[in-house]
Amino acid sequence: MDFQIVSFIASGILVIIGLYGVFFVDNILKKIIALDILGNGVNLVLITIGYNGGTIPIKLPNVPVDVFAKKSAYPLTQALVLTNIVIEASMLAVMLGVSIILYKKYKTLKSSVILKED
């Protein structure tokens, strides 16, 4: 169980790094990368919830179901992470597209210039 706590804390640090990057770094591209880190931190939390010191949740032939069920990792959270990865990727694609258009106009990626409120 020690491993699980360490992994939780590591993912918490990833989340905090991501939040720091989003709020305090003045560059659109770096902000987007920070969002990716934030998302990965959350994914790591999910993955770690499913960890119970066992094997991968794939039943090979000649392994009985009840033996398998005792030592397998939990499949639910892995499924959630797979779903979340796609969602993250599509959000990032849209944001990158917009930042290409805005870069074309301003010739810079500084968010203090691009995202200035009027």
Partner: protein, 263 residues
């Protein structure tokens, strides 16, 4: 003013981070519903059985996120905007000669070209295997589709505009629509056969829907759902990569919409 604002933001950031860390270090995991998933056998890959069996509807939502993201990327690059004067100004400005157009992409050296072509063929084949084995081994529609899309990207990077593997965007749009519609309609078919949306039916009449060795004949429609997701992801990721790298499309779109508006 600004420094005070930064200070407040910094303090709230620290408080927030500390509370997240505190919550995380107090985690106690309850296996809960996972025990149900692990004791009921559908297919050998239990993650896949959660994705396409118990929570197939989430996967449908995930597909639609990708579909919507690709549509929105098209909109960003000028498809059917109500008013595209802004894009026109940007992309017809005289100083921007540095277009990456379909005819002007650079290519790599012959060594890379010599390796990239066969590699892309085998990557496509491996992607197909990953899609079709998704219900038995790690992998599945998303991973396989991503492999095929990266074969496309590899070939485009190595060969430039003369890329041997090329999907034009009309084809990709259709492929994506086919993938998403297959998923949606398989669910509707399941509703008429089993009474529930996305019901996993294993046979129609006496014919098994996915002929397989007898231990995994319970897969039913899951491999087909995998194929649908694979097609959609292949189309979606290729379109996204293509849109993010190619500006010719925008100019074409702008010209087309001008024609429509002037009619």
């Amino acid at each position: 003013m600004n420094s005070k604002r930064d200070l407040v933001a910094g303090i709230s950031f620290f408080v927030f981070g500390a509370s997240i860390l505190y919550s995380l270090s107090n985690m106690h995991v309850n296996p809960g519903v996972n025990l149900v998933y692990l004791t009921h056998y559908i297919i050998p890959n239990y993650v896949c059985s959660v994705i396409f069996g118990w929570r197939a509807y989430d996967t449908l939502g995930e597909c639609l996120v990708l579909v919507v993201a690709v549509m929105v990327s098209w909109i960003i690059f000028g498809k059917s905007l109500y008013d595209n004067t802004y894009l026109k100004e940007l992309f017809k400005a005289p100083e921007s000669d540095d277009y990456i157009t379909l005819h002007g992409w650079g290519e790599y050296t012959p060594i890379i070209k010599f390796l990239a072509f066969p590699a892309s063929v085998f990557m496509v084949a491996l992607g197909i295997v990953t899609i079709l084995g998704g219900h038995i081994t790690p992998g599945g529609g998303f991973q396989g589709g991503a492999l095929i899309a990266s074969a496309l990207i590899l070939s485009v990077v190595a060969f430039g505009s003369k890329s041997p593997l090329w999907f034009d965007h009309k084809y990709l749009e259709k492929l994506e629509a086919i993938g998403a519609l297959t998923y949606l309609l398989l669910g509707v078919v399941g509703m008429f056969i089993g009474g529930y949306y996305l019901f996993i039916f294993t046979s129609v009449g006496n014919l098994p829907i996915f002929p397989a060795p007898k231990e995994i004949v319970t897969a039913g429609i899951i491999p087909y759902l995998n194929i649908a997701v694979g097609l959609k992801v292949l189309a979606g990721l290729s379109t996204a990569a293509f849109l993010l790298s190619c500006e010719k499309v925008i100019i074409e779109r702008i010209e087309k919409s001008e024609e429509i508006l002037n009619k």
